[in-house]
């Protein structure tokens, strides 16, 4: 009985605090399609991980699995040292700590912009209403849509809506933010205003998982690029290394197609 395996076991049982999100041998099937195949991924506190890859490679599913909007078949997902709960109140509590921004914004159309942002803190955190509204207004100012607070989401442009959605997620003071193709539904001229907000967040040290097709953002903001294809993580690298000198043929092929124009 040497001490080495014991030490290793201890390390496995309680991952060091800087590992915020840990996916361990995660598998998922949609019917016959094996969308996530033995995914191992660790995201450290304060790290910005950009997930790229062709359509249908499983990158959105991976992102949605982290707060269990998609269930997984086997493997484990741990957030801040705690395994993802199955259902119910525990899961809701965990989701409150994980911000999510969707491709289609998903703002609540029957509530004003300010109410959209203040809803979570009031209903989930039990925050005082006027305090929550003040903080919501400050967040809206921060993402540059403070003057739209009294409007309904349908009255805003796509870029403004997505910035409100980011403010709504930030209002919960999440430990990590998940972005599921946040700019894919936007007109080209509105993409930058959203990316700028995300850049700013990254600079402020927010832990972020970003599924995107914006290679410029990946290059400038990511600490690490994860390249997925056919349900597998094919390559994981520093962005400069990945874009300038990809190792796998699959990544070379992908990059040649998107960077050709």
């Amino acid at each position: 009985m040497s001490e080495v395996p014991l030490a290793k076991e201890a390390a496995d049982a309680a991952p060091p605090a800087e590992d915020l999100v840990v996916l361990d041998k995660v598998n998922k099937h949609f019917g016959a399609l094996h969308v996530l195949q033995d995914i191992n991924l660790t995201i450290k506190r304060g790290e910005v991980v950009v997930v790229i890859g062709p359509s249908g490679s499983g990158k959105s599913t991976l992102c949605r699995a982290i707060n269990r909007l998609e269930t997984i078949d086997d493997g484990s997902i741990t957030i801040d040292g705690r395994p993802l709960p199955e259902e119910g109140r525990e899961l809701a509590r965990l989701r409150a700590d994980v911000g999510m921004v969707f491709q289609s914004f998903n703002l609540f159309p029957h509530r004003t912009v300010l109410d959209n942002v203040a809803l979570g803190p009031i209903k989930v955190r039990g925050q005082d209403k006027s305090l929550a509204r003040t903080r919501a207004q400050a967040l809206l100012d921060r993402v540059g849509v403070g003057n739209q607070a009294g409007k309904y989401p349908a009255q805003l442009s796509g870029g403004q809506q997505q910035r409100v959605a980011i403010a709504r997620a930030l209002a919960m003071e999440p430990k990590v933010m998940l972005f599921d193709e946040p700019t894919s539904a936007l007109d080209p001229e509105m993409i930058n205003e959203v990316l700028e907000v995300m850049q700013q967040l990254a600079r402020e040290g927010m832990t972020m998982v970003v599924v995107t097709h914006e290679m410029g953002f990946a290059r400038s903001a990511a600490n690490r690029v994860v390249f997925m294809a056919d349900g597998r993580i094919v390559e994981e690298a520093d962005p400069h290394q990945f874009f300038d000198n990809p190792r796998s043929d699959r990544a070379k092929d992908f990059l040649s197609k998107i960077l050709a124009h």
């Binding site: 909007l69 109140r89 969707f102 998903n106 703002l107 609540f108 159309p109 029957h110 989930v124 349908a154």
Partner: protein
């Protein structure tokens, strides 16, 4: 032509007032019970879903007259339920009728609401869950408010149908419009004018309801 209309002898306004009361009380009850049924039918708990489904299919497919008579015969006379009405049979049969209408009409409210829930994009519930809201909160704060706005017009149909369905309460002796009409036809032998009079009475009740709720439907529609 309308000289049979002796308001001292026939309490026309009283009868229609009973119809209005039946409609309003049953309408409120159906809205509440129908919403609960719809929540059951979309809930993640299998036994609740099963109960909601079975309930809706049983009551929606049973003739209303049968439900009303069953309420009267089974609950009141066989099981001795008094519905807390210890002042006269009129009040008891009125309450039994309201119960019967709620049991029946709530199934239509439930199904209208369920189709409304289907108009709410999946992303709405996902975004609400991602914020950490519980199932009940997602339903009551996000999904149902949008679903209701989508089904104001179908609910107006249900309410108009309910208004006319209240005539079935005559079967257990509730003194509403249809019972008075039957009485007047027997006494006056003026079938056509009496029928026109009561048809007109119901139009006076339902037409403004329909127009008003049509206006509400437009106002309340969710702009996406």
């Amino acid at each position: 032509m309308f000289d049979f209309l002796d308001l001292d002898r026939y309490d026309l306004f009283g009868a229609f007032w009973t119809t209005v009361q039946l409609t309003v009380l049953s309408g409120i009850g159906s809205l509440i019970w129908g919403t609960i049924l719809a929540a059951m039918r979309v809930s993640p708990v299998p036994i609740m879903r099963a109960f909601g489904t079975v309930y809706v299919h049983v009551f929606r497919n049973t003739p209303l007259t049968l439900i009303i008579v069953a309420c009267s015969q089974l609950l009141a006379y066989t099981l001795g339920m008094t519905m807390w009405a210890d002042f006269g049979t009129q009040s008891l049969s009125f309450r039994l009728a309201v119960l019967g209408f709620v049991l029946y009409t709530s199934t239509f409210v439930c199904e209208a609401l369920r189709s409304g829930i289907n108009t709410v994009p999946v992303g709405q519930a996902e975004a609400a869950r991602a914020l950490g809201l519980s199932f009940t909160q997602v339903l009551t704060l996000i999904v149902l408010p949008q679903a209701f706005r989508a089904v104001v017009a179908p609910l107006a149909n249900v309410l108009i149908a309910l208004t006319k369905n209240t005539t079935v309460a005559a079967a257990i002796g509730v003194a509403e419009a249809a019972l008075l009409m039957r009485d007047m036809i027997e006494q006056e032998a003026q079938l056509v004018p009496i029928a026109i009079l009561f048809a007109f009475g119901f139009i006076v009740l339902t037409l403004p309801t329909g127009l008003f709720l049509g206006w509400v439907a437009k106002r309340a529609a969710v702009k996406r």
